[in-house]
Amino acid sequence: MRIIGIDLGTTNSACSFWKDGKPELIPNRLYKLLTPSVVGVDDNGEIIVGEAAKHRLVSHPSFTTSVFKRYMGAAGYQCQLGKREFSSVELSSIVLRSLKEDAEHHLGEKITQAVISVPAYFNDAQRKATKLAGELAGLTVERLINEPTAAAIVYGLHHISDGAQFLILDMGGGTFDVSLVEYFAGVLEVHASSGDNFLGGEDFLNILVQKYLDDHRINEKNISSIERQQIIEALNKAKHQLTFDKSVTINSIHKAQDKPWTIDRDTFEQFAKPLLSRIQTPIERTLNDADISPSDIDEVVLVGGATRMPMFRSLISKMFRRVPSGNINPDLVVAMGVAIQAGLKEKNKDLDDIVLTDVCPYTLGVEIINQDDKNGKQGGLFMPIIDRNSIVPTSIVKTLCTASNNQTKLNISIYQGESRLVKNNIFLGELDVNVPKGPEGKETIDVRYSYDMNGLLEVDVNVNSTNKTYQKNIFNHSGLLSEKELTTSKAKLARLKFHPRENEAYRVLIARAEKLYEITLGSKRTYIGNILSQFEQVLESQDLTKIDETSKKFKSILDELEQQGMFT
C-alpha cells in the first residue's frame, strides 16, 4: 500500500512519495512541484485550488481565500466563499484532496494513506484539525510529522556528517519552528524544539503592506478588497525581489500612488524589527532546554521560503557568528522529508536502519488548587505532567488527591504551557471524575498522560478506591467536531463540484488574464479583454488542436504583459 507524504503549508503545499531509495516530489496538474494553498469558488460554483485560485485572489477576492492554516483548530472560524461557508479544516481538506488527485494521477493507483507535516509548535487542537482535514479528504493520516524534523531527516541522511548536532530554523509562510537535532549511526534524535505559531513570511508581507498604505496615506478601511489584493500581490513580488536586489521600485498599483514607490532592504529591515526580535526567543529556549551553547552546534540549517530573506539570513549569521546552510531548496525540503517518513511507514527496506525520535515541544499538565491564593487573583496552579522536550512517545502518571472534605467530584482541567498559573496557559479540555465521599486528601486518582508519535495527547484517569477508569482523547473544547458535524461536513464536501483537472491549465490562463484585466487600465485593458473573450470562444469550440495552439499563443502574450508590469 502506497503512502504519500504531504507538506501542507500556509502559502504553498507539496506532495511526495518514496521511490527507489530516494524521495520524489509529485508534480501537480500544471507540472509544478508547489501548489499554492489557495481555494476559490468560480462563477459556476465549481471549486478551484492552487495556481488558478491564486490568480483569482486578485480578481475575485470575495470568492477566494488563502492563509487558512493560521486558523486551524480555532473555534468558530468560518470563511465565506460566495454563498457557502467553510471552516479552515474543510478548506485544508480541499487542498489535500487536490494533492491526492495529483498523486493518484502521477502514480496511477488509488491513494488512501498519507503522512502530513505540521509545524512543530502546533498544539493538540491544531494537530487534530490537520488529521481531520486529511480524513475529510479521504486519507488515513498514518503520521503527523513535525516540519523541522522532516527537514532534519533530509539533511541528516544526505548532507551532514555522522555525529553532528544541527539546528533547524524553519520559517514558512505562517509559522516559525526551531529544532535541535543530532544525527548519529542512523538515529535522528530531536533534542529540543520550540517555535512561534504566528511568525512567518505573511507577517513580513503585512509589514510591507502597512508601510505602503501609510506612505500613501491610504486608510485601510477605504480600499476595496480587489485593490487590497492588488497591493498585496505587488508587494509580495517586491518582497521576493528584495532578496536579489538592494531596492525595488514599484509602478502605480493604486490610484492614490502618483509616482513610483521605492523600498530598499534597510527600510524594510527597520520596519520588520519587531518581527525579527521575536525570532530570538524560540532559539534561546531550544538551546536552553537542550543545554547546549551556540558554539557546540555544528551547523545551522535554514528551511522554509521566508528564510530566503537577506535580513533573516544576516540576523542568523550575526546570532551564531557563522553562515547558515540551506543548500537544498528551502521550499521543498520539508516535502522530501515527509516522503522519507512515508517510506519509513511503508517499512521500506532502504530505510531499515533509520530511526527517528522526536520531542513534545511544550509542557502538558493539569490544574491544581492554589492554597496561597487568598483573594482569587492568581487562580489555579499548573502542575506539569509531561515536561516540555521530553522524548515521545511518552506516558507519565501523577497522583492527585481531593482538596476538601466530602468532595464527590474532581474536575481535571488539562492545560498546555509554561507558566505556573493556569490562566496564562492554554486550556485543552476537561474531564469530570466522580469519587466516593471522604475526608480531605483521602481519595486519590492517577492521571496518566500519553503523548504519541503524532503529537496527540490522551488522558486516562483512574480512581484508586473504586478502580473506575475515565478516558479522554483531548479534543479542544472549541475546535470539537461531533460525529454529527463530521458527517455533515463530509456530505458538504461530497456535494462540491470540482473543476475538471484536464482543463486546469486553461483555467489558470483565464485567471491570469482576469487578474491582468483588473490591474491594468486604458487600451491595454480592452486588449486583454478582447484576447480573453477570443480564447474563451476557442475553448467552447472543443477543437483540441486549435485550443492547444491558441493557449500557447495566449500564454506568451500574458507572459509579455506581466513582464512589462510592476517593476521599473
Partner: protein, 384 residues
C-alpha cells in the same frame, strides 16, 4: 536491569560508544513499534550519558534501577536538580566576567572554517572582529550610567545604544546582558516600584522579557519577576469584574459566616421595601392607594421570591445584598446554579423561614456553616 545491560555494553564514559550502542538497540525498540521498550531504553541511554568517570565502579554493584518508567524519570529529575545546583555554584564563582573567553575560541575556529567569501560573509567578518571583552565593558558602563538616574532610564531614547550594538545580536551575549540588566534593575531599591516597572517595560521590549517570563522566573524567582514585570493580565481582570464572577468557582472554598448572610438578606429586604414604597407612591398618584397598601408585605415576599432566583442564576451569582458583601451562591461543585435550582433553593429558604424562630437558633449553632435551606436544596453560599 542496569542501564548498561539494556544498552548491551560494558560501563563506559565514552559517549560515542554509548551512542552507537543506543543506535544499535534502537533498531529493535523502535518508538512507534515498541513504545514502552523505547521509553525504558531512552531513559537508560540518558542515564548512561550522564555517568561520570568515578561512578562507574560503584554502578556495577548498584543494579537496582527499577524497571518502571516513572521511577527512573523521578530519579533523573533529582539528578538534574543536583546538576542545577552545581551549575549555580560554578556560575557564582565566575560571576564577574563569564562567557567572554569561550566566545573568543569559537571565533578563531570559525574564521578558519569559512572559505567561500560571499557578500554576506564579508558583512559578517566585520562583525566577527568584535572584541567581546571590551564591548562588554563599554556596554556595562553605559547601562550603569543610565540606570543611576532613573528618571532618565524611563525614556526609550536613552536606551537606543542597545539597539545599535552589534555584539548584542549574539545570543549568549544578549542573554547575559539581559540577566545583568534585570538584576541591576532589581537592586535599585531606592526607586519607587512604579518607576522600576516603567523602566522594566522599556527594557522588556528590547530583551523580550514578557516572552521569557518563565526563564526569568527560573533564574530570579517568581516574586521578583512579579515585582518587576507585574501580572498585567490579572490586574485588568480584577478591575473589570468585581460583580460578575466566573461560571466555575476558582480558588479555595470559604463558607460565608451566618451574620454575613443575615446582613445580605437584610439588605435585600431593605431594597424590596424601598421598591414597594416606590410602587406605593406611584400607585397613589394613579389613585389605587387603598388596594396597594393593603398587601404590601405579601407582594414584597412574592417579589423577593421571583427576583432572587433570577439574580442567583445570573452571572452575578447572588442577590444585590450578596454581591455587596462579596459572597455568592453556587452548587456543591462550585458552579453557577441554573434557574430551576435557584428557584428550588429559594423555596427551601421560604420553608425554612416558616419556622423562623426555631431555624434561626438551629442555624446559628450549625458548625459547618451550611444553613438549613442550603442543606435541603444542596447548594452553598461561599466567599467570592
Amino acid at each position: 536491569m542496569s542501564c548498561w545491560n539494556s544498552l548491551c555494553i560494558e560501563p563506559t564514559t565514552d559517549k560515542i560508544a554509548i551512542k552507537k550502542a543506543y543506535a544499535c538497540q534502537l533498531k529493535t525498540h523502535k518508538p512507534d513499534e515498541d513504545p514502552e521498550g523505547f521509553a525504558i531504553l531512552h531513559a537508560h541511554y540518558k542515564q548512561a550519558l550522564k555517568t561520570k568517570p568515578q561512578t562507574i565502579k560503584t554502578s556495577e554493584a548498584q543494579t537496582v534501577v527499577p524497571a518502571s518508567i516513572i521511577e527512573t524519570l523521578r530519579a533523573e529529575k533529582l539528578k538534574t536538580e543536583q546538576n542545577i545546583i552545581e551549575q549555580l555554584k560554578i556560575e557564582l564563582s565566575k560571576a564577574e566576567k563569564p562567557i567572554v573567553q569561550y566566545i573568543h575560541e569559537t571565533l578563531s575556529s570559525n574564521n578558519s572554517a569559512n572559505n567561500k567569501k560571499t557578500e554576506q560573509e564579508l558583512e559578517l567578518e566585520t562583525s566577527n572582529e568584535l572584541n567581546f571583552e571590551t564591548e562588554w565593558r563599554r556596554l556595562k558602563t553605559k547601562i550603569d550610567h543610565v540606570l543611576t538616574t532613573p528618571h532618565k532610564a524611563i525614556h526609550k531614547d536613552n536606551w537606543s545604544f542597545l539597539g545599535d550594538n552589534e555584539a548584542l545580536f549574539d545570543i549568549e551575549f544578549k542573554a547575559y546582558t539581559s540577566s545583568y540588566v534585570f538584576e541591576k534593575l532589581l537592586s535599585l531599591t531606592k526607586t519607587s516600584r512604579q518607576k522600576q516597572r516603567a523602566i522594566a517595560v522599556v527594557l522588556g521590549t528590547f530583551f523580550r522579557w514578557t516572552d521569557r517570563k518563565d526563564l526569568l522566573e527560573a533564574q530570579f524567582g517568581y516574586d521578583k519577576v512579579l515585582h518587576l514585570l507585574g501580572n498585567s493580565k490579572s490586574e485588568e481582570k480584577q478591575n473589570k469584574s468585581k460583580w460578575s464572577s466566573n461560571k466555575f468557582h476558582q480558588g479555595p472554598i470559604i463558607f460565608s459566616s451566618y451574620y454575613r448572610k443575615f446582613a445580605s438578606t437584610s439588605i435585600d429586604i431593605g431594597l424590596i421595601a424601598i421598591a414597594q414604597y416606590c410602587l406605593a407612591l406611584i400607585t397613589s398618584l394613579i389613585g389605587l392607594e387603598h388596594f396597594f397598601l393593603e398587601y404590601a408585605l405579601i407582594r414584597g415576599v412574592v417579589m423577593y421570591l421571583f427576583l432572587a432566583p433570577i439574580f442567583e442564576a445570573s452571572s452575578l451569582q447572588g442577590t444585590p445584598g450578596k454581591c455587596l458583601l462579596n459572597i455568592k451562591v453556587t452548587n456543591l461543585n462550585g458552579r453557577r446554579l441554573n434557574i430551576f435550582h435557584a428557584y428550588w433553593r429559594n423555596l427551601c429558604f421560604v420553608l425554612s423561614t416558616a419556622g423562623f424562630k426555631i431555624t434561626l437558633w438551629i442555624n446559628i449553632f450549625l458548625k459547618d456553616g451550611i444553613l438549613l435551606h442550603d442543606r435541603f436544596s444542596r447548594s452553598m453560599v461561599i466567599r467570592r
